[in-house]
Symmetry: C2
Subunit: 484 residues, 2 copies
């Protein structure tokens, strides 16, 4: 079936050519402008097609050189996975996170740190109209709270959607939460006690590390691959080396890598979890935001004995400010309901009802199709800009979903310093060290959110980051020479 979108048709055509050998490994592809001209396509269409091919690993971008057909065994210029680590560490709240949170609340700052989509890209206005209509029509709405498992209409809407996830569940399999953050908090509280260790991917979303730290848990960081997610061999070693209470993973469009676990890897991860009798806490917030092909199935689809606690929300697809999330906790249903009751009693009725109505409407699927397209294009454009502006030797992830880029700068750049300097000039970024409990890790990395349209203001901000990075790299090199 041919795709609706020109960029998908182009990507498929070029992909075929590579598979057939018509485009040979190591060969340079036409420049974006040249191909656009030749084929009478827009530059954006070509950029997106190349991005799709990068995402699937068929081609790679080399800074200031262009696009090349990849050698099959080569990971190219994506940031390198960390060395493996099986030592349990107690994560700590860092200055980097404190600065990031403070910057969140400053409207004068160019917001490239936190992973928010622009309100125009989301369906916030439509959701607000639904909420307004409900609030006018149902005068008793809000007179009672909806104690766990939460609003039946929301759970029924989720049950219907879970069929399209490939993990069909019933309304009795869900508990409503305050975003995915509360879902993950409850999941961790259900399966681990203070002092226990849990596995996370490395790098991983700093919010997960904060939640783990605040609960007094330890983390074992297992390297993640930029395209395929958590390293199963390293995970196996970790499970053998240390008692592990949970595997916290983001198999679909992981934050910050944008990786997607292949189905056989998900099956293998689940089998490992069964063998070592460990629950899996699956963070699926980017599940609907993969750029190509069918929506990947969550690991929950393989769950036969209820050990997967699937956590999701509408914060990345509809409205972060509604704080509507959920957990499908499998065998931990009763524990999660009790913990939710004791932790925050219930979720607000109005926001839950509005989201339930939106999820049940046909327009939500249309919205998701459009959103994937928009987000893929936006990420591709940011990536182009970064490759064009950042110093030689910069490595940039080729995300297969979500809307963040993971970038490794050349030289001995400390991105915590970069964050501080950029913030002083009105630009927020997320520094690499906050994505690991071991603060020295990822010190030359940063995460950029591509959630805002690439306006001239954003382009100027990217230029600023590039120059600050160049400057810090030069000083780092000089410092290195001086001490040598």
């Amino acid at each position: 079936m041919p795709s609706d979108y020109l960029y998908e048709q182009l990507a498929a055509e070029l992909g075929d050519a590579i598979e057939r050998g018509a485009l040979r490994a190591g060969g340079k592809l036409p420049s974006v402008r040249r191909l656009a001209e030749d084929r009478a396509l827009s530059v954006a269409t070509v950029v997106q097609a190349y991005s799709v091919l990068e995402g699937t690993g068929l081609i790679e971008a080399r800074p200031k050189s262009g696009y090349f057909v990849r050698r099959r065994t080569d990971d190219g210029d994506a940031p390198r996975p960390p060395r493996k680590s099986v030592t349990a560490t107690r994560p700590a709240v860092s200055d980097g996170i404190a600065r990031l949170i403070a910057a969140l609340r400053d409207p004068g700052v160019v917001p490239l740190a936190a992973a928010y989509l622009d309100p125009g890209t989301l369906k916030v206005a439509q959701l607000n109209r639904i909420a307004a209509a409900l609030a006018r029509e149902v005068s008793t709405l809000g007179a009672r709270d909806d104690t766990p498992p939460g609003l039946a209409t929301l759970r029924r809407a989720l049950a219907r959607r879970s069929i399209s996830w490939g993990a069909p569940m019933t309304e009795h399999d869900f508990v409503a939460t305050i975003g995915a953050t509360e879902a993950i908090t409850l999941a961790l509280r259900a399966v681990a006690r203070p002092g226990d260790a849990v596995v996370v991917e490395s790098p991983t979303y700093f919010g997960i590390l904060q939640t783990i730290e605040a609960l007094g848990l330890k983390v074992v960081e297992v390297p993640a691959h930029p395209r395929t997610g958590i390293d199963l061999a390293a995970l196996h070693d970790a499970l053998k080396a240390t008692p592990i209470r949970a595997i916290v993973t983001m198999p679909t469009a992981a934050n910050p890598l944008g990786s997607i676990m292949p189905d056989d890897a998900k099956a293998a991860l689940y089998a490992l979890a069964v063998r070592h009798d460990v629950p899996i806490i699956e963070d699926d917030v980017y599940g609907e935001l993969c750029f190509d092909g069918a929506r990947p199935r969550p690991i929950k689809a393989w769950d036969k004995d209820g050990r997967v606690l699937l956590c999701g929300s509408v914060s990345k697809t509809l409205a972060p400010g509604y704080r509507v999330g959920w957990i499908a906790p499998g065998r931990y249903q009763d524990d999660i309901e009790r913990l939710k009751f004791s932790q925050s009693l219930a979720c607000p009725t109005l926001t839950g009802m509005a989201v339930a109505e939106m999820l049940s409407s046909g327009s939500y699927d249309r919205h998701l199709r459009r959103l994937r397209h928009v987000v893929a294009g936006q990420v591709a454009r940011y990536r182009e800009e970064v490759l064009a502006r950042f110093p030689d030797g910069t490595r940039v992830s080729a995300p297969r979903g979500g809307f963040v880029l993971w970038i490794e700068l050349p030289g001995a750049v400390d991105t915590l310093v970069l964050q501080e300097r950029a913030l002083a000039r009105g630009v927020a970024i997320a520094p690499g060290p906050i994505f690991s409990a071991r603060q020295q890790r990822f010190s030359a990395c940063l995460r950029l959110s591509c959630g805002q349209p690439l306006t001239p203001r954003v382009a100027t901000a990217l230029d600023l980051i590039a120059h600050l990075a160049q400057d810090l790299a030069a000083r780092g090199a000089r410092g290195h020479r001086a001490s040598a």
Copy 2:
């Protein structure tokens, strides 16, 4: 200044007569109907006036006998405070709570268990209209979440209101939470670690015990007096006997007793906390719902060194289903912000904005005045019914605020059995044992919510409870004789 309300005028007049000795201690007051007839007042007005006098301890109700002027040193027929206990206990989730929560979600059950007010009594419809207008006008509302400390408009509205509480604070002293339950969870997480012990009043709201249990904390239960709250001598003993990480208290219209701590007792409690260097977690959810006089100041008003974490919400005065709460955490501000971020990231924007607008409007104060009046009347009518229908020897609290009655049944009645039987007949009550971590305590007690208007359906439900109680007491007495 004469009161606006006839019942307050009548209560003041009778109170004066008692103080002057015109009505002597032990003397019987005219029956409600007789006095209403004599003075050309409604029965409801007289009931409320008597209720006010009971609340202040000047008169007492004796089941099936009527109202009497109290002897000053006598606690009359209010339920007796528990024997003191300074042993740390790990609370457990009981069948009683599980049944109560399940019944919450059944619309066929007469809801006398949970402390909810009727939507007609609350301002839910007005709040919904505000929310609808906001959702229509602000199309970007919900596009970002409001990370801690939360929505500025809400914190500013709370800062303005804190002046009328007698504990003036600024917007920087508040953190928005998902109801008071999340506030208390965060407070406990900030000051205690699993295995630590905290003091609670006995009896206390079962939700607090659940939160404590779920966090792996222990409780030391200190007896509370039905009119004046926590027993300071027993508290002092507890602080000397065991390392205590926090005092969790509800000084204003405590749930379930309806007690109000006198100001000098609050000052003394604060002084004790300073001497033993213990933080105070103050649950103020019923702060606006006292029946007479000025709104009592929270203990926070005495707080000089930031050791009081004041927790509140609009769940008892506006809309439980909005889940809008807050904490004024004093010196723990940074910890609470960080914990809130890690636990649930942020609160919903729409519900917070609507409540902020309502709190800032002049109509909120008018609503509160009306609400206090309505609630006081409703509690008085429920109390009348209980005294008229329940077995001889029943003791009923005379709450000074809030909308629950604490009842002690005569004989060896097990209210967990009573709860089960009543629920089988479609009536939900809250059994006494769930108000203590030591399950055997308060086994003859129950809590009745007076949140619904006293309709014929409710009257029938009260009759049912009375008959079941009578039946259980008779069996208990027979059982006792048989084993003697």
